[in-house]
Amino acid sequence: MNPPAELEVLHILERMPPNASGALVRERADGTMAGALLVERGRVCWAMSERYRLRLTDILVAEQDTLNLGQLNEVFAMCHRDHMPLGETLVARGLVSLPVLHRALLRHTCEALDCLVREDAPWSWIEHSGYGYHPMLTFSPAEVLAGVRAIANPTLAARALKRLRAVVRTGQRGFAVERSSGSKLPLAQVGCEGIDLVAIADLAVQAEEVMAVAATIDIEVALAELGGLACASWAEDNVLFVLLCDGELAFNRLLAQVAAMIIYP
C-alpha cells in the first residue's frame, strides 16, 4: 500500500536543499516528464503534473465570481506573448486581489503536487539561480503540506482553519492536526509559514501526549512554557489545536486568552 500523499509530499519537501532555487522534476522511464515542483529560495512557487488538468484560470473564476474566462484568457495570452508574469499582471489590472490570487495559486500547487507524488518516476533536482516570483506568491513547506493534507479531508480542514482564524490573534501562530491520523502533519495552519515542519510535528506529538494523559482528569486546555515561547493545546471534534505565542508576558497573555475561550468537545 502506498503511503498517504501528504507523507510523500513531506519527503519531497525535505529533499529540497535549504534556501535553494530550482526544480524537482519527475521524469518517466520513457523520457516524458510527469511533472515538476518549482522552488525559489526554499519556498514552493508552482507545481505541475500531467495528471492534473485544472488550470489556474479555472480556479480563479471559481474563487471570484466577478471574473470570466474570456477576460482571463485575454490577459493570459498577452502575458504569454510579452513574457509578463500572469499573477502580478492580474493584480496590477485589478482583476483579482492578492489574497484571492494567493489562495488560487496555493490550491493549484497543492492539488497538482497531490497528483505528482502519485507518479511512479524518479525525482531529480535541477538547480537554477534566476529569481522571478513575488515572495507573496510563493509558499512555505508548512502551507503546502497543510494544503495537500486538506485535500484528503476538506470539510475537517475547512472547519479547523475557520476555528484557527477565530482564535489566532495578531502576533500569534496556530496549527491543527487530525487526532486519529498517525502522522502529525498540519491539517490547517495560520502564521506558521516560518516554522520548520519537524518542529510542528514535534509540538503536535508533545501536545497529543499531554492531552491523552490530561483527558483522564477532564482537562480541556494544556498550557506550557518553554523559554520565551508559550504554547496552548486543546482538542475539539477529533482535531488537536496548538496555539503559539511569544514576546513579553506571552504565557500570561495566552493563559488569559484560553481561560476565556469556550472549548467545543
Partner: protein, 109 residues
Amino acid sequence: MTRLAEISGQVPDCVVAAWVDTRTGAVRERHVERPATFIDAALEAATEVMRSRERPPRMVLLSARHVHMFHRMAHDPHRVLVVICERSPNIGLAVALVRSFADAEAAAA
C-alpha cells in the same frame, strides 16, 4: 507551618499542594486544603505528564472546574511541584503565586 501549607494558604481556592517524584510516582509531600475525590488521580496524571524531561518545565492545565499547575525543579528534575485550585477569575494570581513559590524553592536549593 510547612512551605506547602504556606503556598496552599496563599493560592485562592486551593485544593491541594504537593511534591511528586516523577521517577517513582510517589507523592513526597502533600498538603490538602480541601479534600476531594479526584486528588489522587490528579497527582498521578501530573506525575505522568511531567515524567518526560523533554516536556516543558512549567505547565498549567485547565479543566472546567480546576486549574492544575506543575513546576519541575531545575536542580532536581524528578521533583515536581503540583498545585491545584478551583477555577475562578483569580486564575492569573494563582499562577503567579505558584510560579514565585517555585522560583523561591529553586533559589533556596
